[in-house]
């Protein structure tokens, strides 16, 4: 079966034709770079996204500290992850890139600060 999809790896948004059989990717065409192949495989087998959001700071100059997962997480877990993100309170100053939660939701990714918070 040929599945059409748009690659989201970069702003070009290549239109991909993905040949899928038994839930496995056989061939990807329409892409301008090799990233699309990995994207297509992930998209068919276990779609994943980097989660970006912001968490509440307490006693810091910034009320909200922007965060993201350092690797994509399974799309199916996005809302669980948001629930956790809303519970977080950061009370100590952070450098840009500091880990806020290690092995976030046991997903093998870290939740990191994307801005300095003093």
């Amino acid at each position: 079966m040929i599945k059409k999809m748009t690659c989201i790896e970069c702003p070009k948004g290549c239109r991909l034709m993905v040949d899928v059989r038994d839930g496995k990717v056989l061939k990807v065409t329409g892409n301008e770079c090799p990233k699309a192949e990995l994207y297509a495989i992930s998209e068919i087998e276990d779609p994943a996204r980097i989660l970006t959001s912001s968490v509440l700071g307490q006693g810091l100059i910034l009320k909200m500290i922007p965060v993201r997962t350092d690797k994509p997480i399974s799309k199916a877990r996005i809302f669980d992850a948001m629930k956790e993100v809303k519970k977080i309170r950061v009370t100590v100053p952070l450098k840009f890139g500091d880990i806020i939660v290690k092995n976030f939701l046991s997903l093998g990714v870290n939740l990191i600060a994307t801005r300095k918070a003093e």
Binding site: L56, M64, K86, K87
Partner: protein
Amino acid sequence: MKTYDVAIIGAGVIGTSIARELSRYKLDIALIEKEVELAFGVSKSNSGIIHPGTQNPPGSLKGRLCVQGNTLIRKISKELGVDFKEVGELIVAFDEDDIKELLRLKKEAEVLGVPGLKIVDKKWLEKNEPNLNSAAVCGLYAPTAGIISPYRLVYDLAENAVRNGVKIFTNTKVININRADKYFEINTSSGLFRSRYLVNAAGLFADEISGMLGINDFKIKPRKGEEFILDKKKADLARHLIFPLPSKISKGVLIIKTADGNPMIGPTAEDIEDKEDLSTSDAGINRVLASARRLIPSINDKDIIAYFAGLRPASGDDFIIRHEETCPGFINVAGIQSPGLTASPAIAVLTANILKKNGLWLRKKIIFHAHRKKTVHLFEIQLSKTGSLIKKDHAYGDIVCRCEMISAKEISDAVRRGAKTMDGVKFRTRAQGGRCHGSFCTTRIMKILAEETQMPLIEITKRGKGSEIVKEDRVND
């Protein structure tokens, strides 16, 4: 329970003018308003024109009070520090029939005592109003027309009235009124008030208030007007207020200069039923653009940065200002549509006289504070003056609204002087009223309001309960 000498229902420009006028005398005065802030009814959508007195039939209350008001407002604006600019108005004629009509208007206005009127020719128009449609053949020029900020006038009148002892009650809706033996019992959403005299300045709802005392011989019919505000960049679009010839029900679509500098085009005039319908329409904007372009063809709809609708509290052809013999002590001040803003100071004096005639003893206070300190608006003053203000108070250099150049100091002052809502801040300062429409400054203004009033951010409203800006704060999760 305290018995006030006079209770006034409605804190628009009429109610506050009457309250301030009466505050010269040794009286206990209560000013009662159903909205969360003053001027949130009819007055908030006023065009801000101080009419010279043209376009009113001779012998009308409107005509007489308009001409008187045009004189009185100058003194009041100086006392209160609200800028009044005498910009003059032009009523424009396009053909022979129009000229006849202009001459008739001129004659009527002269009978009313409107000063300085003259017919100006094409040459004059070309020189003094360069963007005007070149098809205009001549105009009636009335030099005494001017502009004022309608809301700032109300807020400053009220502030001065309070200084002189008037008590203001907002969020106070009248539920019913009883004429007891010696006083009125006014039952409101925030409790019972008693007063010996009662003035009804309830604008759109004046008929309902009057009806509570059994006087049902007039109805307020809302007449909607849609107005469209242009970018301040176009401040020089017109040098005068420009009018077409008036129709039966309105003065037509005008080119309006405003005290804030933004030109405005409108209003439409449409009789409607719903006293709360403030919606604008596609038909309205199309009509206003077409009519305004007949006066100034170069008007670009891309310059429209805001629009709104207001309701004129119309009732018949003239104002209704009278003591009700069947209900002694009750004064109706109703049907105050255009030129109500201009006439407001004269209406206040007339109302005081009516009260006096009906037994209210007007004893002058030994000290009446006629003056208030002018409110600072950075957009009105020279940069050098701004520089020295910033030295005195750093917060003048902290610009919150970048489109209209309004500082944190002006906003916190507005809140300290009574603004409780985002609209209240906008009407007092113009912050959020510019071309970005609050995109950049909303959050900062919310924070200043929250800080000054000790309100949580989620309780900050646009214009009172039900109009909260945001639904949730992460802090409360």
